[in-house]
Protein backbone atom coordinates (compact mmCIF):
# COMPACT_ATOMS: atom_id res chain seq x y z
CA UNK A 1 0.00 0.00 0.00
CA UNK A 2 1.23 3.39 -0.91
CA UNK A 3 0.74 6.06 1.75
CA UNK A 4 1.36 8.73 -0.91
CA UNK A 5 -1.73 7.61 -2.79
CA UNK A 6 -4.15 7.59 0.08
CA UNK A 7 -6.42 10.39 1.18
CA UNK A 8 -5.89 11.72 4.69
CA UNK A 9 -9.13 10.05 5.79
CA UNK A 10 -8.01 6.67 4.45
CA UNK A 11 -4.50 7.13 5.79
CA UNK A 12 -5.74 7.80 9.30
CA UNK A 13 -7.93 4.72 9.06
CA UNK A 14 -5.05 2.60 7.75
CA UNK A 15 -2.84 3.82 10.57
CA UNK A 16 -5.52 3.01 13.10
CA UNK A 17 -6.02 -0.44 11.70
CA UNK A 18 -2.30 -1.09 11.65
CA UNK A 19 -2.12 -1.52 7.85
CA UNK A 20 0.75 0.94 7.97
CA UNK A 21 2.84 2.31 10.79
CA UNK A 22 3.36 5.99 11.49
CA UNK A 23 7.06 5.54 10.80
CA UNK A 24 6.40 3.93 7.42
CA UNK A 25 3.98 6.67 6.60
CA UNK A 26 6.28 9.49 7.65
CA UNK A 27 9.21 7.88 5.84
CA UNK A 28 7.26 7.68 2.60
CA UNK A 29 6.40 11.36 2.67
CA UNK A 30 9.81 12.50 3.91
CA UNK A 31 11.46 10.54 1.07
CA UNK A 32 9.06 12.13 -1.36
CA UNK A 33 9.94 15.58 0.01
CA UNK A 34 13.62 14.87 -0.35
CA UNK A 35 13.17 13.81 -3.97
CA UNK A 36 10.74 16.50 -5.01
CA UNK A 37 11.48 19.59 -3.02
CA UNK A 38 14.58 20.69 -4.95
CA UNK A 39 12.44 21.26 -8.02
CA UNK A 40 9.39 22.66 -6.23
CA UNK A 41 10.88 24.49 -3.23
CA UNK A 42 7.67 23.96 -1.27
CA UNK A 43 9.48 23.43 2.04
CA UNK A 44 11.67 25.87 3.95
CA UNK A 45 12.36 23.51 6.79
CA UNK A 46 12.15 19.75 7.13
CA UNK A 47 13.15 17.95 10.30
CA UNK A 48 13.33 14.33 9.29
CA UNK A 49 14.67 13.07 12.60
CA UNK A 50 12.08 14.83 14.70
CA UNK A 51 9.25 13.65 12.49
CA UNK A 52 10.43 10.05 12.55
CA UNK A 53 10.99 10.17 16.28
CA UNK A 54 7.49 11.47 16.81
CA UNK A 55 6.08 8.82 14.50
CA UNK A 56 7.97 6.12 16.38
CA UNK A 57 6.57 7.39 19.65
CA UNK A 58 3.04 7.21 18.29
CA UNK A 59 3.58 3.69 17.02
CA UNK A 60 4.94 2.65 20.44
CA UNK A 61 1.97 4.12 22.25
CA UNK A 62 -0.45 2.41 19.91
CA UNK A 63 1.32 -0.90 20.33
CA UNK A 64 1.15 -0.48 24.10
CA UNK A 65 -2.59 0.07 23.89
CA UNK A 66 -2.27 3.65 25.06
CA UNK A 67 -4.68 6.23 23.67
CA UNK A 68 -3.59 8.18 20.61
CA UNK A 69 -5.12 11.27 19.04
CA UNK A 70 -7.66 11.26 16.21
CA UNK A 71 -5.02 12.14 13.60
CA UNK A 72 -2.37 9.82 14.99
CA UNK A 73 0.47 9.36 12.51
CA UNK A 74 -0.94 11.68 9.86
CA UNK A 75 1.85 13.75 8.24
CA UNK A 76 0.99 17.44 8.18
CA UNK A 77 2.87 20.36 6.62
CA UNK A 78 2.59 23.77 8.25
CA UNK A 79 2.80 27.08 6.43
CA UNK A 80 5.81 28.91 7.85
CA UNK A 81 3.51 31.65 9.15
CA UNK A 82 2.52 29.45 12.10
CA UNK A 83 4.57 29.53 15.31
CA UNK A 84 6.20 26.21 16.15
CA UNK A 85 8.34 25.99 19.27
CA UNK A 86 10.46 23.17 17.85
CA UNK A 87 10.98 24.45 14.31
CA UNK A 88 12.05 27.80 12.89
CA UNK A 89 9.25 30.16 11.87
CA UNK A 90 10.40 32.59 9.22
CA UNK A 91 7.34 33.80 7.27
CA UNK A 92 9.71 33.34 4.31
CA UNK A 93 11.40 36.57 5.33
CA UNK A 94 14.98 37.53 5.99
CA UNK A 95 13.56 39.46 8.92
CA UNK A 96 12.80 36.19 10.75
CA UNK A 97 15.47 33.95 9.27
CA UNK A 98 16.20 31.31 11.91
CA UNK A 99 13.65 32.71 14.35
CA UNK A 100 12.38 30.18 16.88
CA UNK A 101 9.25 31.12 18.79
CA UNK A 102 9.05 30.06 22.45
CA UNK A 103 5.50 28.80 21.97
CA UNK A 104 3.22 26.87 19.60
CA UNK A 105 0.31 28.38 17.76
CA UNK A 106 -3.05 27.17 19.03
CA UNK A 107 -3.61 25.24 15.80
CA UNK A 108 -0.17 23.66 16.09
CA UNK A 109 -0.86 22.65 19.69
CA UNK A 110 -4.18 21.12 18.70
CA UNK A 111 -2.61 19.14 15.88
CA UNK A 112 0.14 17.96 18.21
CA UNK A 113 -2.41 16.80 20.76
CA UNK A 114 -4.18 14.97 17.94
CA UNK A 115 -0.85 13.22 17.27
CA UNK A 116 -0.28 14.57 13.78
CA UNK A 117 3.31 14.26 12.59
CA UNK A 118 4.74 17.57 11.35
CA UNK A 119 6.97 16.99 8.34
CA UNK A 120 8.06 20.59 7.97
CA UNK A 121 7.32 24.27 7.36
CA UNK A 122 6.21 25.34 3.93
CA UNK A 123 7.31 28.24 1.76
CA UNK A 124 5.04 31.22 1.29
CA UNK A 125 4.94 34.79 0.08
CA UNK A 126 6.81 36.87 2.63
CA UNK A 127 4.60 37.71 5.61
CA UNK A 128 1.67 36.28 3.60
CA UNK A 129 1.77 39.17 1.15
CA UNK A 130 1.44 37.97 -2.39
CA UNK A 131 -0.49 35.85 -4.84
CA UNK A 132 2.24 33.78 -6.46
CA UNK A 133 4.78 32.75 -3.82
CA UNK A 134 7.38 34.78 -5.71
CA UNK A 135 7.79 37.14 -2.77
CA UNK A 136 9.65 34.61 -0.65
CA UNK A 137 13.14 35.54 0.54
CA UNK A 138 14.06 31.90 0.04
CA UNK A 139 13.13 31.46 -3.60
CA UNK A 140 9.80 30.99 -5.34
CA UNK A 141 7.72 27.85 -5.26
CA UNK A 142 7.19 26.06 -8.56
CA UNK A 143 3.79 24.79 -9.53
CA UNK A 144 3.96 20.96 -9.60
CA UNK A 145 1.78 20.93 -12.73
CA UNK A 146 4.26 23.12 -14.61
CA UNK A 147 7.47 24.12 -12.90
CA UNK A 148 7.73 27.31 -14.94
CA UNK A 149 4.54 28.53 -13.36
CA UNK A 150 3.58 29.93 -10.01
CA UNK A 151 1.53 27.89 -7.56
CA UNK A 152 -0.35 30.95 -6.42
CA UNK A 153 0.03 32.50 -2.98
CA UNK A 154 0.55 33.28 -0.34
CA UNK A 155 0.15 29.61 0.75
CA UNK A 156 1.99 28.49 -2.38
CA UNK A 157 4.25 26.06 -0.57
CA UNK A 158 1.34 24.38 1.23
CA UNK A 159 -0.64 24.05 -1.99
CA UNK A 160 2.30 22.72 -3.97
CA UNK A 161 3.29 20.22 -1.30
CA UNK A 162 -0.15 18.64 -1.30
CA UNK A 163 -0.37 18.70 -5.09
CA UNK A 164 3.01 16.97 -5.33
CA UNK A 165 2.16 14.39 -2.67
CA UNK A 166 4.75 15.70 -0.23
CA UNK A 167 2.10 15.67 2.49
CA UNK A 168 -1.52 14.55 2.55
CA UNK A 169 -2.54 17.68 4.39
CA UNK A 170 -1.11 21.15 4.79
CA UNK A 171 -2.23 24.07 6.90
CA UNK A 172 -2.36 27.45 5.20
CA UNK A 173 -3.60 30.93 5.98
CA UNK A 174 -5.93 33.13 3.97
CA UNK A 175 -6.20 36.92 4.23
CA UNK A 176 -7.45 37.81 0.74
CA UNK A 177 -7.48 34.40 -0.92
CA UNK A 178 -4.17 32.89 0.15
CA UNK A 179 -5.57 29.40 0.70
CA UNK A 180 -8.22 29.31 -1.99
CA UNK A 181 -6.33 30.81 -4.90
CA UNK A 182 -3.23 28.59 -4.65
CA UNK A 183 -5.52 25.60 -4.07
CA UNK A 184 -7.22 26.55 -7.32
CA UNK A 185 -3.95 26.94 -9.22
CA UNK A 186 -2.59 23.67 -7.87
CA UNK A 187 -5.64 21.50 -8.30
CA UNK A 188 -6.29 20.82 -4.63
CA UNK A 189 -8.99 21.68 -2.09
CA UNK A 190 -8.56 24.56 0.33
CA UNK A 191 -10.94 25.97 2.92
CA UNK A 192 -10.96 29.43 4.48
CA UNK A 193 -13.27 29.12 7.48
CA UNK A 194 -15.58 31.85 8.78
CA UNK A 195 -13.54 34.54 10.55
CA UNK A 196 -13.05 33.50 14.16
CA UNK A 197 -13.75 29.79 13.59
CA UNK A 198 -10.08 28.90 13.99
CA UNK A 199 -7.87 30.62 16.56
CA UNK A 200 -5.31 33.12 15.28
CA UNK A 201 -3.08 32.77 18.30
CA UNK A 202 0.36 31.97 17.00
CA UNK A 203 -0.53 32.92 13.44
CA UNK A 204 1.96 35.61 12.56
CA UNK A 205 -0.35 38.45 11.75
CA UNK A 206 -0.63 40.12 8.38
CA UNK A 207 -4.08 41.73 8.54
CA UNK A 208 -5.75 40.87 11.83
CA UNK A 209 -9.37 41.45 10.81
CA UNK A 210 -8.96 39.35 7.66
CA UNK A 211 -6.54 36.50 8.51
CA UNK A 212 -7.80 32.96 8.98
CA UNK A 213 -6.08 29.59 9.15
CA UNK A 214 -7.47 26.66 7.16
CA UNK A 215 -6.77 23.18 5.81
CA UNK A 216 -5.45 22.34 2.36
CA UNK A 217 -5.74 18.76 1.12
CA UNK A 218 -6.82 16.65 -1.84
CA UNK A 219 -10.44 16.59 -0.90
CA UNK A 220 -13.20 18.23 1.06
CA UNK A 221 -13.45 15.11 3.20
CA UNK A 222 -9.81 15.47 4.18
CA UNK A 223 -10.37 19.15 4.96
CA UNK A 224 -13.36 18.22 7.11
CA UNK A 225 -11.23 15.78 9.08
CA UNK A 226 -8.59 18.40 9.82
CA UNK A 227 -11.18 21.07 10.64
CA UNK A 228 -12.50 18.93 13.48
CA UNK A 229 -9.11 19.25 15.15
CA UNK A 230 -8.17 22.83 14.37
CA UNK A 231 -11.50 24.64 14.72
CA UNK A 232 -12.88 25.79 18.06
CA UNK A 233 -12.85 28.49 20.69
CA UNK A 234 -9.55 29.69 22.13
CA UNK A 235 -9.82 32.00 25.15
CA UNK A 236 -6.40 33.34 24.15
CA UNK A 237 -7.88 34.91 20.98
CA UNK A 238 -10.48 37.61 21.64
CA UNK A 239 -11.83 37.21 18.11
CA UNK A 240 -12.33 33.47 18.45
CA UNK A 241 -15.94 32.28 18.17
CA UNK A 242 -17.48 30.31 21.02
CA UNK A 243 -19.93 28.40 18.80
CA UNK A 244 -19.58 24.65 19.17
CA UNK A 245 -17.63 22.88 16.43
CA UNK A 246 -19.81 20.52 14.41
CA UNK A 247 -18.66 17.02 13.53
CA UNK A 248 -17.82 18.05 9.99
CA UNK A 249 -16.98 14.53 8.84
CA UNK A 250 -20.39 13.26 9.95
CA UNK A 251 -22.17 15.99 8.07
CA UNK A 252 -20.57 15.41 4.68
CA UNK A 253 -22.82 12.81 3.19
CA UNK A 254 -25.92 14.83 2.49
CA UNK A 255 -27.55 15.36 -0.88
CA UNK A 256 -27.61 18.78 -2.46
CA UNK A 257 -31.28 18.68 -3.23
CA UNK A 258 -32.81 22.07 -2.73
CA UNK A 259 -29.53 23.83 -2.06
CA UNK A 260 -29.62 27.18 -3.84
CA UNK A 261 -26.36 28.28 -5.39
CA UNK A 262 -25.83 31.85 -6.49
CA UNK A 263 -24.03 32.77 -9.70
CA UNK A 264 -22.75 36.32 -9.99
CA UNK A 265 -23.02 37.57 -13.58
CA UNK A 266 -20.30 40.20 -12.98
CA UNK A 267 -17.84 37.38 -12.34
CA UNK A 268 -17.97 36.49 -16.00
CA UNK A 269 -16.81 39.85 -17.32
CA UNK A 270 -13.93 40.29 -19.73
CA UNK A 271 -10.69 39.33 -18.07
CA UNK A 272 -11.90 35.88 -17.06
CA UNK A 273 -9.94 33.28 -19.02
CA UNK A 274 -12.39 31.48 -21.38
CA UNK A 275 -11.19 28.03 -20.30
CA UNK A 276 -11.70 28.96 -16.69
CA UNK A 277 -15.16 30.32 -17.49
CA UNK A 278 -16.01 27.07 -19.21
CA UNK A 279 -14.73 24.98 -16.29
CA UNK A 280 -16.75 27.04 -13.86
CA UNK A 281 -19.96 26.75 -15.89
CA UNK A 282 -19.46 23.00 -16.07
CA UNK A 283 -19.10 22.91 -12.32
CA UNK A 284 -22.43 24.69 -11.93
CA UNK A 285 -23.89 22.04 -14.22
CA UNK A 286 -22.53 19.24 -12.04
CA UNK A 287 -23.98 20.83 -8.95
CA UNK A 288 -27.32 21.27 -10.67
CA UNK A 289 -27.29 17.65 -11.72
CA UNK A 290 -26.71 16.80 -8.07
CA UNK A 291 -29.93 18.52 -7.12
CA UNK A 292 -28.91 22.09 -6.45
CA UNK A 293 -30.55 25.03 -8.14
CA UNK A 294 -28.55 27.91 -9.61
CA UNK A 295 -29.75 31.50 -9.35
CA UNK A 296 -28.33 34.81 -10.42
CA UNK A 297 -27.28 36.98 -7.51
CA UNK A 298 -25.69 40.35 -7.41
CA UNK A 299 -22.80 41.52 -5.30
CA UNK A 300 -23.09 45.17 -6.31
CA UNK A 301 -19.90 46.33 -4.62
CA UNK A 302 -17.75 43.41 -5.72
CA UNK A 303 -15.64 45.59 -7.99
CA UNK A 304 -14.58 47.63 -4.98
CA UNK A 305 -13.28 44.55 -3.23
CA UNK A 306 -9.69 44.90 -4.40
CA UNK A 307 -9.23 48.60 -3.55
CA UNK A 308 -10.98 48.03 -0.19
CA UNK A 309 -8.76 45.09 0.59
CA UNK A 310 -5.62 46.85 -0.59
CA UNK A 311 -6.32 49.60 1.89
CA UNK A 312 -7.45 47.68 4.95
CA UNK A 313 -4.87 44.91 4.70
CA UNK A 314 -1.80 47.15 4.23
CA UNK A 315 -3.02 49.50 6.97
CA UNK A 316 -3.33 46.67 9.49
CA UNK A 317 -0.10 45.15 8.21
CA UNK A 318 1.83 48.39 8.60
CA UNK A 319 0.95 48.23 12.28
CA UNK A 320 1.34 44.47 12.73
CA UNK A 321 4.81 44.58 11.20
CA UNK A 322 6.01 47.53 13.27
CA UNK A 323 7.27 45.05 15.86
CA UNK A 324 9.95 43.88 13.39
CA UNK A 325 12.44 46.58 14.23
CA UNK A 326 15.54 44.66 15.21
CA UNK A 327 15.12 45.47 18.89
CA UNK A 328 13.83 42.32 20.60
CA UNK A 329 14.03 39.61 17.93
CA UNK A 330 14.50 39.24 14.24
CA UNK A 331 17.04 40.79 11.95
CA UNK A 332 19.11 43.67 13.24
CA UNK A 333 21.26 45.91 11.09
CA UNK A 334 23.07 48.89 12.54
CA UNK A 335 25.50 49.79 9.74
CA UNK A 336 25.07 50.46 6.03
CA UNK A 337 25.19 47.31 3.88
CA UNK A 338 28.82 46.26 3.65
CA UNK A 339 29.82 48.61 6.45
CA UNK A 340 30.44 47.65 10.02
CA UNK A 341 29.37 50.07 12.63
CA UNK A 342 28.03 48.04 15.55
CA UNK A 343 27.15 50.57 18.14
CA UNK A 344 28.38 48.54 21.05
CA UNK A 345 30.29 45.36 20.23
CA UNK A 346 30.37 43.29 23.39
CA UNK A 347 29.96 46.22 25.75
CA UNK A 348 30.38 49.23 23.57
CA UNK A 349 31.69 52.56 24.64
CA UNK A 350 30.16 55.94 24.81
CA UNK A 351 32.76 57.28 22.40
CA UNK A 352 31.80 54.64 19.87
CA UNK A 353 28.18 55.47 20.43
CA UNK A 354 28.79 59.15 19.93
CA UNK A 355 30.78 58.46 16.76
CA UNK A 356 28.00 56.22 15.55
CA UNK A 357 25.49 58.92 16.28
CA UNK A 358 27.49 61.45 14.31
CA UNK A 359 27.85 59.12 11.36
CA UNK A 360 24.19 58.21 11.48
CA UNK A 361 23.23 61.85 11.63
CA UNK A 362 25.38 62.48 8.60
CA UNK A 363 23.42 59.76 6.85
CA UNK A 364 20.21 61.54 7.81
CA UNK A 365 19.13 59.50 10.83
CA UNK A 366 18.08 61.30 13.99
CA UNK A 367 19.81 58.77 16.27
CA UNK A 368 21.60 55.41 16.18
CA UNK A 369 18.40 53.82 17.44
CA UNK A 370 16.38 55.17 14.54
CA UNK A 371 19.16 54.16 12.19
CA UNK A 372 18.94 50.63 13.57
CA UNK A 373 15.21 50.56 12.99
CA UNK A 374 15.46 51.91 9.46
CA UNK A 375 18.31 49.70 8.35
CA UNK A 376 17.01 46.54 10.01
CA UNK A 377 13.66 46.93 8.35
CA UNK A 378 15.14 47.93 5.00
CA UNK A 379 17.39 44.86 5.05
CA UNK A 380 14.92 42.46 6.59
CA UNK A 381 11.84 43.10 4.44
CA UNK A 382 11.41 42.36 0.74
CA UNK A 383 10.02 44.88 -1.76
CA UNK A 384 6.36 43.82 -1.60
CA UNK A 385 6.30 43.93 2.17
CA UNK A 386 7.88 47.37 2.13
CA UNK A 387 5.39 48.55 -0.46
CA UNK A 388 2.44 47.46 1.67
CA UNK A 389 3.90 48.92 4.85
CA UNK A 390 4.38 52.22 3.05
CA UNK A 391 0.90 52.15 1.57
CA UNK A 392 -0.64 51.34 4.95
CA UNK A 393 1.38 53.96 6.79
CA UNK A 394 0.35 56.56 4.23
CA UNK A 395 -3.33 55.64 4.34
CA UNK A 396 -3.42 55.87 8.14
CA UNK A 397 -1.46 59.07 8.40
CA UNK A 398 -2.81 62.42 9.44
CA UNK A 399 -4.85 63.99 6.67
CA UNK A 400 -5.41 60.75 4.80
CA UNK A 401 -7.13 58.53 7.35
CA UNK A 402 -10.68 59.53 6.44
CA UNK A 403 -10.23 59.41 2.69
CA UNK A 404 -8.52 56.05 2.69
CA UNK A 405 -8.68 53.80 5.72
CA UNK A 406 -11.99 54.99 7.16
CA UNK A 407 -13.50 55.04 3.68
CA UNK A 408 -12.40 51.47 3.10
CA UNK A 409 -14.02 50.39 6.37
CA UNK A 410 -17.31 51.88 5.22
CA UNK A 411 -17.15 50.15 1.85
CA UNK A 412 -16.31 46.97 3.72
CA UNK A 413 -19.64 47.20 5.51
CA UNK A 414 -21.39 47.57 2.16
CA UNK A 415 -19.55 44.54 0.78
CA UNK A 416 -20.50 42.51 3.83
CA UNK A 417 -24.10 43.62 3.49
CA UNK A 418 -24.08 42.52 -0.16
CA UNK A 419 -23.20 39.02 1.00
CA UNK A 420 -25.78 38.96 3.78
CA UNK A 421 -28.41 40.19 1.33
CA UNK A 422 -27.40 37.59 -1.25
CA UNK A 423 -27.61 34.84 1.34
CA UNK A 424 -31.24 35.72 1.89
CA UNK A 425 -31.98 34.19 -1.49
CA UNK A 426 -29.22 31.59 -1.92
CA UNK A 427 -27.38 29.21 0.40
CA UNK A 428 -24.04 29.34 -1.38
CA UNK A 429 -22.36 31.55 -3.96
CA UNK A 430 -20.34 29.76 -6.63
CA UNK A 431 -17.85 31.03 -9.15
CA UNK A 432 -14.24 31.24 -10.23
CA UNK A 433 -11.46 31.44 -7.66
CA UNK A 434 -8.94 32.91 -10.08
CA UNK A 435 -9.36 34.75 -13.39
CA UNK A 436 -6.65 32.64 -14.99
CA UNK A 437 -5.01 29.29 -14.45
CA UNK A 438 -1.47 29.26 -13.07
CA UNK A 439 0.55 32.08 -14.66
CA UNK A 440 4.22 32.01 -15.50
CA UNK A 441 6.75 32.85 -12.85
CA UNK A 442 7.89 36.40 -13.44
CA UNK A 443 4.80 37.27 -15.48
CA UNK A 444 3.32 39.71 -12.96
CA UNK A 445 6.30 40.62 -10.81
CA UNK A 446 6.96 43.93 -12.56
CA UNK A 447 3.50 45.29 -11.92
CA UNK A 448 2.31 45.25 -8.32
CA UNK A 449 -1.21 46.20 -9.33
CA UNK A 450 -1.45 43.35 -11.81
CA UNK A 451 -0.46 40.99 -9.02
CA UNK A 452 -3.09 42.47 -6.72
CA UNK A 453 -5.78 41.66 -9.22
CA UNK A 454 -5.21 37.91 -8.85
CA UNK A 455 -7.23 38.24 -5.64
CA UNK A 456 -10.27 39.52 -7.53
CA UNK A 457 -12.59 36.64 -6.65
CA UNK A 458 -11.38 35.97 -3.16
CA UNK A 459 -11.00 39.21 -1.19
CA UNK A 460 -14.75 39.68 -0.71
CA UNK A 461 -14.91 36.56 1.46
CA UNK A 462 -12.36 37.93 3.90
CA UNK A 463 -13.82 41.42 3.93
CA UNK A 464 -17.23 39.97 4.79
CA UNK A 465 -15.75 37.50 7.28
CA UNK A 466 -17.56 34.55 5.72
CA UNK A 467 -16.26 31.12 4.67
CA UNK A 468 -15.07 29.93 1.27
CA UNK A 469 -13.72 26.73 -0.27
CA UNK A 470 -12.03 26.10 -3.57
CA UNK A 471 -11.55 22.79 -5.36
CA UNK A 472 -10.62 21.65 -8.87
CA UNK A 473 -13.38 21.62 -11.47
CA UNK A 474 -11.40 20.87 -14.60
CA UNK A 475 -8.18 21.35 -16.49
CA UNK A 476 -7.10 23.58 -19.33
CA UNK A 477 -6.07 22.11 -22.63
CA UNK A 478 -2.48 22.53 -21.53
CA UNK A 479 -3.12 20.52 -18.39
CA UNK A 480 -3.37 23.27 -15.80
CA UNK A 481 -5.93 22.98 -13.01
CA UNK A 482 -9.05 25.14 -12.99
CA UNK A 483 -10.51 25.99 -9.61
CA UNK A 484 -14.09 26.54 -8.49
CA UNK A 485 -15.04 28.49 -5.39
CA UNK A 486 -18.03 28.29 -3.11
CA UNK A 487 -18.71 30.95 -0.51
CA UNK A 488 -21.20 30.58 2.33
CA UNK A 489 -22.81 32.57 5.15
CA UNK A 490 -21.03 32.73 8.52
CA UNK A 491 -20.48 29.34 10.16
CA UNK A 492 -21.82 27.41 7.15
CA UNK A 493 -18.64 25.31 6.87
CA UNK A 494 -20.70 22.11 7.01
CA UNK A 495 -22.59 23.17 3.87
CA UNK A 496 -19.39 24.23 2.09
CA UNK A 497 -17.72 20.93 2.83
CA UNK A 498 -20.82 18.96 2.00
CA UNK A 499 -21.27 20.63 -1.38
CA UNK A 500 -17.60 20.25 -2.28
CA UNK A 501 -17.64 16.65 -1.12
CA UNK A 502 -20.75 15.88 -3.16
CA UNK A 503 -19.03 17.44 -6.21
CA UNK A 504 -15.98 15.25 -5.55
CA UNK A 505 -18.10 12.11 -5.41
CA UNK A 506 -19.46 12.94 -8.84
CA UNK A 507 -16.16 13.99 -10.47
CA UNK A 508 -12.53 12.99 -10.16
CA UNK A 509 -10.68 16.21 -11.01
CA UNK A 510 -9.36 16.16 -7.45
CA UNK A 511 -7.79 12.75 -7.95
CA UNK A 512 -5.57 13.85 -10.82
CA UNK A 513 -1.92 14.25 -10.09
CA UNK A 514 0.82 16.12 -11.87
CA UNK A 515 3.48 14.10 -13.58
CA UNK A 516 6.23 12.85 -11.31
CA UNK A 517 8.75 15.38 -10.03
CA UNK A 518 11.32 16.31 -12.60
CA UNK A 519 8.93 15.55 -15.40
CA UNK A 520 6.87 18.68 -15.00
CA UNK A 521 6.89 20.86 -18.06
CA UNK A 522 9.77 23.31 -17.83
Amino acid sequence: MQPLELSAVDLVAALRQGDVTAVQCATAFLDRIEATNPAINAFLHVDREAALSRAADIDARRRAGKPVGPLAGLPVALKDVLCTADMPTTCASKMLAGYRPPYDADVVARLRRADAVFVGKTNMDEFAMGGSNENSAFGPVHNPWDHSRAPGGSSGGSAACVAADMAPVAIGSDTGGSIRQPAGLCGITGLKPTYGRVSRRGLIAFASSLDQIGPMARSAADCALVMETIAGHDPGDSTSLTTEVPRYTDLLDKPLTGVRIGRVPEHFAAGLDPEVAKGVEEAFAVLKAAGATVHDVRLPHAKYGIPTYYLIAPCEASSNLARYDGAHYGHRETAPAGGHRETAPAGGHRETALAARAAGAAAGFESPLVEMYCRSRAEGFGPEVKRRIMLGTYALSAGYYDAYYAKALRVRRLIRQDYLDAFQTVDLIGGPVSATPAFKLGEKTDDPLAMYLVDLYTVGTNLAGVGGISFPCGFTKSGLPIGFQLQAPPLAEPLLLQAADRFQRLTDWHRRRPKAAGEGRA
Binding site: L311, M390, G399, L409, L414
Partner: protein, 111 residues
Protein backbone atom coordinates in the same frame (compact mmCIF):
# COMPACT_ATOMS: atom_id res chain seq x y z
CA UNK B 1 -3.94 64.05 22.36
CA UNK B 2 -3.68 66.75 19.74
CA UNK B 3 -3.06 64.86 16.53
CA UNK B 4 -3.62 66.68 13.32
CA UNK B 5 -6.97 66.70 11.64
CA UNK B 6 -7.90 63.31 10.29
CA UNK B 7 -10.36 64.68 7.79
CA UNK B 8 -9.72 63.98 4.17
CA UNK B 9 -7.19 65.54 1.94
CA UNK B 10 -8.12 65.15 -1.68
CA UNK B 11 -6.33 62.33 -3.50
CA UNK B 12 -3.39 63.84 -5.26
CA UNK B 13 -0.28 62.30 -6.80
CA UNK B 14 2.47 61.47 -4.34
CA UNK B 15 5.69 63.38 -4.46
CA UNK B 16 8.97 61.80 -3.43
CA UNK B 17 8.92 64.17 -0.46
CA UNK B 18 5.62 62.63 0.61
CA UNK B 19 7.08 59.16 0.21
CA UNK B 20 10.23 60.07 2.12
CA UNK B 21 8.07 61.34 4.97
CA UNK B 22 6.08 58.09 5.01
CA UNK B 23 9.30 56.08 4.96
CA UNK B 24 10.49 58.01 7.98
CA UNK B 25 7.23 57.33 9.83
CA UNK B 26 7.51 53.65 8.89
CA UNK B 27 11.19 53.52 9.88
CA UNK B 28 12.26 52.23 6.48
CA UNK B 29 15.55 53.39 4.98
CA UNK B 30 15.10 53.90 1.26
CA UNK B 31 17.94 54.53 -1.14
CA UNK B 32 17.46 57.15 -3.85
CA UNK B 33 16.62 54.65 -6.57
CA UNK B 34 14.25 52.83 -4.29
CA UNK B 35 12.58 56.07 -3.27
CA UNK B 36 11.99 56.98 -6.90
CA UNK B 37 10.59 53.56 -7.75
CA UNK B 38 8.43 53.48 -4.62
CA UNK B 39 7.05 56.93 -5.44
CA UNK B 40 5.91 55.70 -8.85
CA UNK B 41 4.45 52.47 -7.53
CA UNK B 42 2.66 54.04 -4.58
CA UNK B 43 1.24 56.80 -6.73
CA UNK B 44 -0.21 54.22 -9.04
CA UNK B 45 -1.63 52.13 -6.21
CA UNK B 46 -3.05 55.11 -4.35
CA UNK B 47 -4.61 56.30 -7.60
CA UNK B 48 -6.19 52.90 -8.00
CA UNK B 49 -7.58 52.61 -4.48
CA UNK B 50 -8.93 56.14 -4.70
CA UNK B 51 -11.74 54.73 -6.83
CA UNK B 52 -13.48 54.09 -3.51
CA UNK B 53 -14.32 57.78 -3.63
CA UNK B 54 -17.06 56.83 -6.12
CA UNK B 55 -18.99 54.91 -3.49
CA UNK B 56 -21.64 56.74 -1.53
CA UNK B 57 -20.92 55.87 2.09
CA UNK B 58 -22.61 58.88 3.66
CA UNK B 59 -25.08 56.62 5.46
CA UNK B 60 -22.66 53.83 6.27
CA UNK B 61 -20.65 53.33 9.46
CA UNK B 62 -17.15 51.84 9.30
CA UNK B 63 -16.85 48.08 9.84
CA UNK B 64 -13.71 47.42 11.84
CA UNK B 65 -14.57 43.86 12.90
CA UNK B 66 -16.34 41.26 10.79
CA UNK B 67 -17.75 39.80 14.01
CA UNK B 68 -20.58 41.07 16.17
CA UNK B 69 -18.84 39.85 19.31
CA UNK B 70 -18.45 42.15 22.29
CA UNK B 71 -17.22 41.97 25.86
CA UNK B 72 -14.58 39.28 25.68
CA UNK B 73 -12.60 39.21 28.92
CA UNK B 74 -10.28 37.02 30.92
CA UNK B 75 -10.13 36.64 34.69
CA UNK B 76 -7.41 38.42 36.66
CA UNK B 77 -5.62 35.16 37.36
CA UNK B 78 -1.85 34.73 36.94
CA UNK B 79 -0.64 32.48 34.14
CA UNK B 80 2.81 31.09 33.58
CA UNK B 81 5.34 33.57 32.28
CA UNK B 82 8.33 32.79 30.10
CA UNK B 83 11.73 32.42 31.70
CA UNK B 84 14.17 35.25 31.11
CA UNK B 85 16.21 32.93 28.90
CA UNK B 86 13.19 32.23 26.74
CA UNK B 87 12.30 35.91 26.57
CA UNK B 88 15.81 36.79 25.41
CA UNK B 89 16.41 33.75 23.24
CA UNK B 90 15.91 35.61 19.96
CA UNK B 91 17.27 38.98 21.07
CA UNK B 92 19.92 40.26 18.65
CA UNK B 93 21.78 41.62 21.69
CA UNK B 94 21.18 41.08 25.35
CA UNK B 95 23.12 40.89 28.60
CA UNK B 96 21.38 37.92 30.16
CA UNK B 97 18.85 40.14 31.91
CA UNK B 98 17.77 42.82 29.47
CA UNK B 99 17.47 43.48 25.77
CA UNK B 100 20.20 45.82 24.54
CA UNK B 101 19.51 48.52 21.96
CA UNK B 102 21.46 51.59 20.85
CA UNK B 103 20.85 54.29 23.44
CA UNK B 104 18.96 57.38 22.45
CA UNK B 105 21.34 59.73 24.24
CA UNK B 106 19.59 62.62 25.88
CA UNK B 107 16.19 61.89 24.40
CA UNK B 108 13.15 60.78 26.31
CA UNK B 109 11.43 59.01 23.44
CA UNK B 110 7.82 59.31 22.44
CA UNK B 111 4.94 60.44 24.64
Amino acid sequence: MGTESRTSAAARPLSSADVAKVASLARLALGDAELARMTGELSKIVGFVSMLGEVDTSATAPLAHPLDTQNVFRDDVPAESLTTAQALQSAPRHDGECFLVPAVLGDSGAA
